[in-house]
């Protein structure tokens, strides 16, 4: 019997396979259900850390610079992500503000911070303090990160308002676009290989 750490279980149908090493553009697929078992991780830990730091910097821009601003008869107004969460918190619908905050602020921020934390220690070839907690946190936060939907939403909002007033996409929107791409790239399931590496 092989060691359990060399086995991989399909999470969709419980089929068991042996782990293989993959080259670029390769992935292993479950024969039973067609689910992806393994994907080639093209990035080294260092590259991923660099991307995480990039994400953190982009996040600062995305959160502190207005995503867009509008102008109407000389009066202008701009909104950051935090502003849009705040506006939802007014009145009887506060709960949706919590959901929005979780999906566009809390989840991405925590993800990036945890990634930097974990990867920084991984660089030193050791597990970070509370490694298991961090990894589980990353795992459970993943479905709640909706920054890319937020990006799409911002673009839709631009088009929606463009008919009525002047809309100027802000620096935050570009940062948001870059951030969502970077996050998809680094915060996917590939983090799991840290368990095996360390």
């Amino acid at each position: 019997m092989t060691k359990t750490s060399e086995l991989i279980v399909c999470e969709y149908c419980d089929a068991v396979y042996r782990k293989t090493s993959l080259a670029r553009h390769q992935r292993s697929v479950c024969v039973r259900c067609g689910g992806v078992l393994q994907r080639h991780v093209g990035l080294t830990v260092q590259q991923r850390l660099a991307l995480s730091v990039t994400a953190a910097i982009l996040m600062v821009y995305a959160h502190f610079y207005p995503v867009m601003s509008i102008r109407l008869q000389g009066v202008s107004n701009s909104a950051t992500l935090w502003d849009s969460v705040q506006i939802l918190s007014q009145g009887s619908i506060t709960f949706i503000a919590l959901v929005a905050a979780l999906t566009i602020i809390i989840a991405p921020v925590l993800q990036v911070l945890l990634l930097i934390w974990v990867l920084a220690f991984a660089m030193l070839r050791r597990r970070s303090p509370a490694f298991a907690l961090c990894m589980r946190g990353l795992e459970s936060l993943r479905p709640w990160n909706m920054l890319e939907v937020c990006l799409l939403g911002a673009l839709v909002a631009v088009i929606k308002l463009a008919g009525m007033l002047d809309v100027i996409p802000g620096a935050g929107l570009i940062a948001l676009a870059a951030l969502s791409v970077v996050l998809i790239y680094i915060a996917g399931r590939d983090v799991r290989d840290l368990w095996d590496r360390l």
């Binding site: 396979y17 080259a23 390769q26 992935r27 024969v31 000389g74 890319e148 990006l151 998809i184």
Partner: protein
């Protein structure tokens, strides 16, 4: 049961294995790209406009408007390289591409008090904007020089341009209104000093359809401000409109004597008159100068006072000078006047024709005037307005005046004068007073006194003697009348007798007439007697 040992999973190699998670960013990318493309499709030309100042211009805020429709926006404002102007970069919208043609005009609209009133007040709230007017040239340009003030007419507006010559600009400005019968129909669009500096040429624009009212005979005059005239006709205040009063304005009209005329051509040059009166005055024709000598003071006769002939104004006083007459040792007033015989209209024309007189022949003119003077032509300073005491010169015929010799060689020709109305009245009154003073008033009064005494005595006698007799006579007369009345009353016997007598008389006259008739028809009956058968 056979346990199959775990096998390595099959490996799939695909160069592009795009996971579903990338769908959202890809869609976002597509949306963003469509936004950019749409924006790019809608983007019009980008122009740079040079203005003297950047006052009121704000990057990304100041709009470019045409007929108050936003067609673009200022995207940036920079100082020009020579630091003498500012360069505004303007992005026009797609539909406004025609505004990039090289003869387009741009100007900054700010609150402005100018000719034709206060404009751009709305910009106080909304901020300034750049006004634009599309050109018609097919050639495109990217650099424009902004106008300092709005062009008074928008491009392609129907109408005609005319030129006016004036000695000075007066209170006119670009945009000053032009009135036709007090209705604004056009504007001053430019002015320039003539090359010799001696006069000003004003370019005006009359909008269609009013431009048809500008005829070859039209007269333009300055309707600026308040025109207060104090002349022989009294005080006159003329104002065109409040706007014209503040900002100046022009008016035009065809004079009554030449109401119809062919419409003026584009660019025709007209003279600009100082006021309506001089503009509408009949054509002056040839000027003739006359000199008048008055022996009395002429208080109230001013230069420009009208000269009238038989009540028709046809000239004006050009000089009033005091002279010294050595022979009479007096100070006569010499009045020089210019007259325009043409203004007398048909009278002058007919006279020229009848006398076969050429107005260019000076000697003949002098002879003609000498002839008139022989017939009693005299000049008189008359009071035109008792209130102000203004005088005017009136030429009229006074056939009773003693003849005066006219020196035909004198230039300007001198027309003898008669004293003015007031002077004549004074003179006559003086004469009356003189005659009165010559009367033997003393003896007249003594005689009159005696006469009065006699009259009184006569009256007394009359009262005492004649009146009682008269009383008796009257009473008798009354009695007689009463008896006559009685006699003539309806029921009196005399009246009835009279009636009967009258009836008898009527009957008698009828039978008499019948007899005569019968005799007329049967004269033989006078001899033979009446036949039995015949009826009377």
């Amino acid at each position: 049961m056979q346990e199959t040992p775990p096998q390595p999973a099959p490996i799939k190699t695909r160069r592009w294995n795009v996971s579903l998670v990338w769908i959202v960013p890809i869609v976002a990318l597509l949306v963003g790209a469509s936004l950019v493309v749409r924006n790019w499709m809608q983007e019009g030309p980008t122009l740079t406009i040079t203005f003297r100042t950047g006052e009121g211009l704000v990057a990304n805020k100041t709009e470019v408007r045409y007929r108050n429709l936003v067609i673009g926006q200022v995207t940036s404002i920079k100082l020009a390289e020579d630091k003498k102007s500012v360069k505004a970069t303007v992005r026009l919208s797609k539909e406004a591409e025609s505004f990039a043609s090289e003869d387009s005009q741009f100007w900054v609209v700010r609150p402005r008090i100018g000719a034709g009133g206060v404009t751009g007040l709305d910009t106080l709230l909304s901020g300034s904007f750049i006004g634009a007017d599309a050109g018609q040239s097919a050639r495109r340009a990217e650099h424009f020089t902004g106008l300092e003030s709005p062009p008074p007419i928008t491009y392609g507006e129907e109408g005609k341009r005319f030129l006016l010559s004036a000695p000075d600009l007066g209170s006119l400005d670009i945009g000053s209104p032009i009135y036709y019968r007090r209705i604004p129909v056009g504007q001053v669009i430019s002015y320039a000093l003539d090359a010799d500096g001696g006069s000003v040429t004003i370019e005006i624009f009359i909008r269609a359809p009013h431009d048809a009212y500008v005829t070859q005979n039209s007269r333009f005059w300055n309707a600026s401000g308040i025109d207060v005239t104090l002349d022989a006709k009294g005080i006159r205040v003329d104002t065109a409109s409040l706007a014209a009063m503040l900002a100046g304005g022009l008016a035009f009209r065809s004079p009554e004597y030449a109401a119809d005329g062919p419409p003026a051509a584009q660019g025709q040059r007209f003279e600009l008159f100082a006021d309506e009166q001089s503009a509408l005055a009949p054509p002056t024709g040839q000027a003739k100068f006359i000199r008048l000598r008055f022996d009395q003071a002429l208080r109230g006769l001013a230069v420009d006072a009208p000269v009238e002939f038989m009540g028709v104004e046809f000239g004006k006083v050009v000089a009033v000078k005091l002279d010294f007459d050595e022979q009479k040792q007096s100070f006569p007033v010499m009045v020089d006047a210019v007259v325009y015989p043409d203004r007398l209209g048909p009278a002058h024309a007919k006279m020229l024709k009848a006398l076969k007189h050429s107005p260019d022949d000076e000697m003949a003119t002098a002879r003609l005037i000498g002839n008139f003077v022989e017939h009693g032509l005299r000049a008189q300073a008359r009071s035109g307005n008792l209130l102000t005491g203004q005088l005017y010169i009136s030429l009229d015929f006074y056939p009773d005046e003693p003849a005066v010799a006219v020196d035909l060689s004198e230039r300007p020709i001198r027309i003898p004068t008669v004293p003015g109305d007031l002077e004549r009245v004074q003179e006559r009154f003086q004469r009356l007073v003189d005659k009165l003073s010559q009367l033997p008033l003393e003896s007249i009064v003594t005689n009159l006194d005696g006469n009065l005494n006699e009259l009184r005595q006569g009256l007394r006698f009359f009262n005492r003697q004649t009146l009682p007799g008269l009383q008796t006579t009257l009473e008798e007369l009354q009695q007689t009348l009463e008896s006559a009345n009685r006699t003539l009353a309806d029921d009196s016997p005399q009246r009835q007798q009279l009636n009967q007598a009258i009836t008898e008389l009527r009957r008698m006259s009828r039978s008499l007439r019948e007899l005569t008739d019968y005799l007329g028809r049967h004269p033989e009956s006078l001899i033979r007697g009446r036949p039995k058968s015949s009826e009377p």
